[in-house]
Symmetry: C2
Subunit: 330 residues, 2 copies
Amino acid sequence: MPHDILVLTEPELKRAVALDLDAIDVVESAFAALASGKVVMPPILSMEIPGANAEVDVKTAYIPGFDGFAIKVSPGFFDNPRIGLPSLNGLMILFSAKTGLVEALLLDNGFLTDVRTAAAGAVAARHLAPSVVTTAGVMGTGVQARLQMFAAHQVRPFERVLVWGRDATKAAACASDIAGHLGIDARAETDPARLVAESQLVVTTTPARAPILKADWLHPGLHVTAMGSDQEGKNEIDPAALARADLYVADRVSQCEKLGELAAAIGAGVWNGKTPAELGEIVAGAKTGRTDDSQVTICDLTGTGAQDTAIATFARQQALTAGAGTTIQS
Amino acid sequence: MPHDILVLTEPELKRAVALDLDAIDVVESAFAALASGKVVMPPILSMEIPGANAEVDVKTAYIPGFDGFAIKVSPGFFDNPRIGLPSLNGLMILFSAKTGLVEALLLDNGFLTDVRTAAAGAVAARHLAPSVVTTAGVMGTGVQARLQMFAAHQVRPFERVLVWGRDATKAAACASDIAGHLGIDARAETDPARLVAESQLVVTTTPARAPILKADWLHPGLHVTAMGSDQEGKNEIDPAALARADLYVADRVSQCEKLGELAAAIGAGVWNGKTPAELGEIVAGAKTGRTDDSQVTICDLTGTGAQDTAIATFARQQALTAGAGTTIQS
């Protein structure tokens, strides 16, 4: 049955979609919907490509109240940088939730994932960080290190950013980008313990497989968002930190038990066995978040299909408003 | 990273891809690869849309030796016919198996699934039907009833087709289409027992949830391909028939145990508990197929991601040869 399909390229999407409060709000609404229990979010389909150091993940979610649902395909080919290509690519496909017809092809090469992942960090900061954040710290020096700070600054307008990374040159470049973009002070910090000590909000954005943030560094009035772990075996936060924090929050418990910091804490035998709160439950007011500014809170973001459906719907709307993209019939 | 993506619409694909021996051969090669044990084929991602009588399935497979891998998204919105739309839609996305970049978008609305499903029926007939088939019977009157006969005729050039369906008008229309397309005798048969009795090859193509082909109807020199069951609860073949046949063959044992005729036989407690042969193992010569023309054989096709990767690769190649499609950069 021939019907119109909107095709949006990466440059078109980058012009139409900003990492702004509207994007943060739409991702927040997806988390709130997750808490309603009415979202359908199947387990991630994951396929390893043998001999290629590569993996492909497919995520989706149906959210009541959204006109469409997205299917996101994220190939990660980790030897690509050797031939001058980025590791992460992929696209999102937006389907009508009423007819199943393809409505839009978002050829974003991972851009929308970057946006929705950073937006989730801002949602976590909005609901869990102390009310006043003067210094934010970020661990890791990649795209998400930058975007997490850009997003979080919109909900906690901190005055200073500290950047830690294994590579001092990359940390300096990241700090420089953040300072330029936000117009605030940002510098590399070589000592991760000092970075945490001086920050009220810390975001970890690395693919670490051994903790880079120690439990002993936790201090009153700290919120940590760990967004690097999205696969079994990854681990950024000392398992003991999860037990010691006043509040640990998962984006999706069933995923964090397998892929997140929670998996590492369970594996280390230090988790208390209770079912943690989900970020959406705190957004929706169904569970209690931070109750005073001196608490220590940790949020574990593994990435959800609900965010993909939210950002794809948002991107299509923004593109239509801007008159962007090409329509094809098929 | 901007790169070229070939976009093919349904009309372009229909012009470029025929259900011919080349298509059958490429699907056969995918089955042979499955038998090698080196194919990576994750379980199907399946999502129900609540309140919409709808389901979305995502299939994929990596096949060594194929340059790309397909991800297929198949939405089934079963109330669509009420508003004049087909129930089944969807698309395939072809990715480079070397870089993970999107190489082609095949906006086929299910056409390529139709082709690869019918081609699998021909592979089953080629390897399992008696060497001479004079009459073929088909149960069901939809698109696959027609395509299964078109495909099977290329490997067993039968002289006559019998069509059974619950709706006599539809059965007559289906028989008329088959006669016109193949240039042979085809007629509706109201008695399914007689259809089976007079056929050497029977293909069942229905969404039945209770058997439409009875074990008592099996006769020497019969091959049955059941391709209608692709979901839990569907069942076309009397469970006793699987136990009684000389040979039962699955397209993929792990799927047929859940979704296929095998699931019904196991559920009914009549399966012998042995691991059945897979079609690919017979194609590859790793297991024995039909050994004489008087045997009774049954093949259970639930549909595999390997077929999708094969047909998507084939379609891209055919389109490139024909100069079809549009290239976009993203």
